[in-house]
């Protein structure tokens, strides 16, 4: 979707288990939900 919106040079970081130990952990586990960092550039 980032590239469809015109962004380039997309980078994605390592997954972070952001819901571990929280109330939403079960749902997060069921769908393998993790947090990620992204960087993308608007082309010149």
């Amino acid at each position: 979707m980032l590239q469809d919106s015109g962004f380039t040079d997309v980078m994605i970081g390592e997954p972070v288990d952001t819901f571990r130990g929280a109330g939403g952990e079960d749902k997060a586990r069921a769908f393998e939900v993790y947090g990620y960092a992204f960087v993308a550039r608007r082309p010149v």
């Binding site: 469809d4 015109g6 130990g21 109330g23 939900v33 993790y34 947090g35 992204f38 960087v39 608007r42």
Partner: protein, 201 residues
């Protein structure tokens, strides 16, 4: 252009406002996500940076990742924080861009805006401000920002394509979007995708 959105945008916004109003006024309550300083540490924020902020700047933090983990901001950069909440990431950004930079936080929840504005005033920060607005219609002029940051917000917007188009508009050519958000490794059933209660809980 009309897109087939999974849930009604305004109904979803109302649910999100309700949820994050509670995070603003009662950050010690139990949520389905972590909050505050323990979350910031879990997500890898530098202890020196988050530790320098007062409790009120951190306690309502509810991000899902670290938008500064792949790239730190540079001194002098102009930054927009989409869905700035109580301002935690905006205040981290202020520290990175320094006195020659400027940070605009945008949020739609009045209680979050009030909290972030009060914190900025208490800290005496002149190069950060918080504006009321939506991710799909940012109150920022074309090509103003060097960098747009966001944390755990875009997944709560029903029209993500509109959000990315709006971020593209406010970034200068060559500018960067650096954000954190959740993604799922297994497909979510179609019926669940249209269940608005599952978007915020």
């Amino acid at each position: 252009m009309t897109r087939d959105l999974l849930v009604d945008p305004e109904a979803l916004r109302e649910q999100v406002r309700d949820k994050y109003r509670e995070v603003a006024v009662d950050p010690g309550a139990s949520f389905h996500f972590h909050t505050g300083r323990s979350l910031a540490a879990r997500l890898g924020y530098a202890a020196a940076a988050s530790g320098a902020l007062p409790d009120r700047a951190v306690e309502s933090f509810a991000g899902v990742g670290n938008p500064f983990s792949l790239r730190s901001l540079a001194p002098g950069e102009k930054v927009v924080d989409v869905g700035s909440g109580a301002g935690f990431d905006s205040f981290i950004a202020v520290g990175q861009v320094g006195p020659d930079g400027y940070v605009v936080g945008v949020d739609m929840t009045p209680e979050m805006l009030a909290k972030s504005r009060q914190t900025a005033e208490a800290l005496g920060l002149a190069h950060v401000e918080f504006r009321r607005g939506l991710a799909e219609s940012l109150p920022v002029s074309d090509c103003w920002a060097d960098v747009v940051i966001s944390n755990g917000v875009i997944n709560l917007c029903s029209d993500k394509q509109a959000v990315f188009a709006e971020i593209f508009r406010v970034l200068r050519p060559g500018g960067l979007l650096q954000f954190a958000d959740i993604a799922n490794g297994r497909p979510v059933p179609a019926a669940a995708l249209r269940d608005i209660d599952l978007w915020t809980g």
